[in-house]
Each structure stands twice: as C-alpha cells, then as structure tokens.
Amino acid sequence: MTSARAVPRWLAALASLVLFYLVFPIFVIVPVSFSSGSYLSFPPPGWSLRWYANFFGSGDWEGATWLSIWVGLSVTVLACVLGTPAAFGLVRGKFPGKRLLNGFVLSPIIVPGIIVAIGIYFVYARLGLIGHPTGLVLAHTCLAVPFVVINVSAALYGFDERLEQAALSLGATPWRCFWQVTFPLIRPGVMAGAVFAFITSFDELLVALFVSGTTAMTLPRLMWQEIRQDIDPTIAAASTMLLALTTALLVSVELLRRRGETLRNA
C-alpha cells in the first residue's frame, strides 16, 4: 500500500505527534543521568558523571548487573535448546492436538506475569529455591521460550524444503543435511529468538520480585527497590545504559532480519 502523496498532511502531523509522544519520554532520562544535581530537576543545574560513578562504585549495582547478565544468558541458551526443536515439531510434525499444544507453548505470553510469579513463588517457597539464581533461570525460561518458538517457526514457514530434499538426494545424511543446510538457513530466526529471550529475562521484574529474596538481586529488582525508596539519578544512569543496550540489540535484530530475508530470497 505505497504511493507517494498518499498521506494527507493532517494525518502525517497527527502521526508525527504520536511518534514524538512515543520517543520523547525515553530520551528525557539521558540528560537527567548526566545531571550534577541530586534531585530530578530539569533542566539539570550542571553536568557531571557522578551518577555513573555511583553506579560503578557501588557493589550492589554491579552485582545486580552481572547477575542479570548471567541469568539472561543462561535463559537464552536453555530457551533456544528447548524452543528450537519444539518449533520444528510444531511446524513440520503431524500429530493430533498440534494446535492445542502450540497454544499451550505460546500461552506464557498472554497469561499475566503476576499469575506465573505467585505460582512459582509457592513452589519455590516449599523447595527452598527462593534467592537462588537457578530458580530465576528456570522460571524466566518459561516466559522467554515462546519468543524462540515464534521466531524459529516464522523462519521455518519461509523455508524452501526442496533445498533439504536436494541435499538428501545427493547423499547427505540427515544429520549433515541439518547442520549444513537447514540450520544455516534458520539461524537468523534462532538468533532473533535468542535476543528476545535474553531481553525477556533481563527486563523481568515480577517473578524476580517474588523469588529473588535478598541474595539474588537482579538489575530490575534493584532498580525497583531504589525507585520506590528515593529517586536519585543513579537510576537514570542505569536506565540510560539499559537504553543503550536495547538500541544495540534492536539494531542487531534488524540486521538479522534483513540477513534472513536475503538468505531466503537467494
């Protein structure tokens, strides 16, 4: 649906206003994080890096950041290992109840986070898993795995199966065919799913709120605690760095998507 002068001026103006509303609040944090004042005043009274120094100087923030990265990476690996084969089964397999199973696997997206959080909290409270990073990894994987399944499924739907048939007819073993033909072609989908999975875990607060205890403090959990206590601009510094990370991941997924398209059209 493209044509040059297809958008009336008033509509373009309205849409631009909405886009401004979408983006402006996010970038407001950036100048605040470089403020020299100790309150959230705007414009900042002067510029400094003291909140960044505060972030990196405090063991709490650093520890939480590393824990979140570590949990996020573990979740990514686990979600990809479980989700990629499942996507194959759900796209290519033929068995009764496939649609129902697909719905179940994707359901963590629509089930409210608080429900999963308290369900898991009750179980962990009994098993003594509160405050264990392992508990966070196991729980976050449930929330992250649908995104791997969705992205790998999308890659498989756009897949030309004649390429596999050609490889097999030329004498490749199924194993070799998978690693040399199938996997390279769906890799962009797997990697996009991996990025989604990492972000899902890295940003997750509700489950962490219940099962982090005091010993497994993730970055969102610490930010939450700080925001509720007093809002000094260290949170703005943390937020700005998270935004930078988000932007980097967004760009990488966009590049993966384009690469996926080129591979498919090649």
Binding site: Y21, L101, P108, I120, F122, E161, R162
Partner: protein, 294 residues
C-alpha cells in the same frame, strides 16, 4: 512447494522423502515436559490453593463476593484496560497508516521510533514518566515557565498519569499488528476505487478499514490482555485509587494471605483467558496474533 523440481528430487530418492527431521511430537516433548513442571503445575497449584486451604472450601471466593473492594478493583482494572485499549487504537491507527503508505526506505526509518520503545524495559519507561510528571518534573517546569500555573500541579500519582504512561507503554503492541494488516492491502484496490470516483473518505471507510479489521482485532486483544495484568506502571505512577488486580494480588501475597491472593489470581487468569477465547472465537484473530510478535 510441490513443484516439478521437488517432485523430480523425490522421484530420484524415494526412500528419503522427508526424513530431515523425525516427525513431530518427539521434538516438542522436552519443552512440553519443562513447561508442564515449571509453568502449568505451579499455576494449577495456585488455583488449587484458592479452594483447598486450609481445607476444601469456597470461602475465599465468598470473601471476594462479600467485600465490595474486590469487585471495585476488578472494575477499575477492566475500566483502565478498556480505556487504554481504545485510546491506543485511536492514536496507533494514524501512525500505522502513515508507516504503511510511506515508501519502504522512509517507513523503515520511522519504524525505529516504534521499535525502540517496544524494546526498552517497562520499568525504564515508567520511570521516565515519573521524571516527566513529577512535582519538579519537566512538564511542571514548562507550565511554570510559560506562566500557565503559578505553582506545580499534581500530575504524578493520579489516574491521568496511569492512562498516559500505560498508553505509552502499550502503543507499539497496537501499531505493529495494524501496520502488518495495512501493509498487506493491495494498492491497486485503492487506485481502482479512486479512479471509479470514490472520495478519500469513502476509500478509507469501505476498503482500508474493513481490510485492516484483522489487525485492529489482534492489536486490541493483545493490548487489552496485557493491560489487565499490568503491575509496574500503575504501581509507580498511579494513586491508591488506581489499584489494579495485579497490585492487589501482590499485596495479598505479601500479607501472607495466600489463599485469598490465589483466588484473586484465578479471577485475573479467567478474565485474561476468557477475553482471549471470546476474541479468537468471534473474530478469528489467532494467526495475526502470532504474526504480530514474530
């Protein structure tokens, strides 16, 4: 897929018709077991707790009916979710429409403005609204500087703040499915209508709008269900009068009121799944829903 080349290959190698991947269920099994143990079982345990503690009883649900506060919170949750969904649709449609009609190079560039908030953490975005709406926040500073008020007005911790911030957080979830639906409309249809003398408003009403309906319903479903379970944003920018279900549940669990909190959880879960079932049954949006987040 069943082209001549494919047929030829299959004829050459009949023994290996499609064995690249062994058939289905086995591949899904590990994930299925994982989710059963770590997701379905805990949620089922929560549901059980709402009727089985300290013994089999419906007392928790009776308590929900008895005290008006619970019905009120459910009402507040539904009201906020509905208003947010409508506002998000009204604001999101013009954006999706513009993005769908611009040439790809420019629309891809502008799409970044939608994807960046979509990707950044809800916690960070809600915090941004605290910075904007606070007593010494930017909006109050602007109002003071322009002389529109003589002292800061209360913006943060109001229902208004909940609406503004939730609409902001949920807008991308509406724009993306709408964009996918609008992008799929064949431009020849629009040209044909225009060349036959239809005014732009008629083209929109009789062609664009009906054809974008799957996107509208997918976006509304997604936004409404996500809004029902919102916790972070209303907890940070709302007032005590904007108590939503998820916040109430968390408070009950914190007070060790586990059975009652579980009963509230069952109500919220029923609301979310019920909405989903009704929408998919009536509007058949499942496929667009899957594509929306893909």
């Amino acid at each position: 897929m069943a082209t001549e080349a494919g047929g030829a290959v299959a004829a050459v190698a009949p023994r290996v018709a499609r064995p690249a991947v062994p058939p289905g269920l086995l591949l899904v099994l590990p994930l299925l077991l994982y989710l059963l143990v770590l997701y379905a079982l805990p949620v089922a345990g929560m549901m059980l707790r709402s009727v089985a503690e300290p013994h089999w009883t419906l007392a928790n649900y009776a308590a929900l009916l008895h005290d008006r506060i619970y019905a009120l919170v459910l009402w507040i949750t539904l009201r906020i979710s509905l208003v947010v969904t409508i506002v998000v649709l009204l604001l999101g449609y013009p954006v999706a429409y513009m993005l769908a009609r611009l040439p790809p190079a420019r629309s891809n560039l502008l799409m970044i403005l939608v994807l960046l908030p979509f990707w950044s953490s809800i916690l960070v975005r809600s915090y941004a609204w605290m910075v904007l709406l606070g007593r010494n926040g930017i909006i109050n500073q602007l109002l003071l500087a322009s002389g529109m008020t003589s002292e800061p007005i209360r913006l943060l911790n109001t229902t208004f703040a909940v609406y503004v911030a939730m609409v902001h957080v949920l807008l991308p979830f509406m724009i993306l499915p709408l964009y996918a639906a609008l992008r799929g409309i064949d431009p020849a249809l629009l040209r044909a209508a225009a060349s036959l003398g239809a005014r732009p408003s008629a083209v929109f009403r009789r062609i664009v709008l009906p054809l974008s309906l799957p996107g509208i319903s997918a976006g509304c479903l997604l936004v409404f269900i996500l809004a029902l379970g919102f916790y972070i944003t209303p907890a940070l920018v709302g007032s005590p009068r904007d108590l939503m279900m998820a916040i109430l549940i968390q408070q009950q669990i914190d007070l060790f009121n586990w059975p009652l909190g579980s009963a509230l959880g069952v109500v919220l879960l029923a609301a979310a799944l019920g909405t989903f079932a009704v929408f998919t049954r009536v509007l058949r949006v499942e496929q667009t829903f899957g594509r929306a987040r893909a």
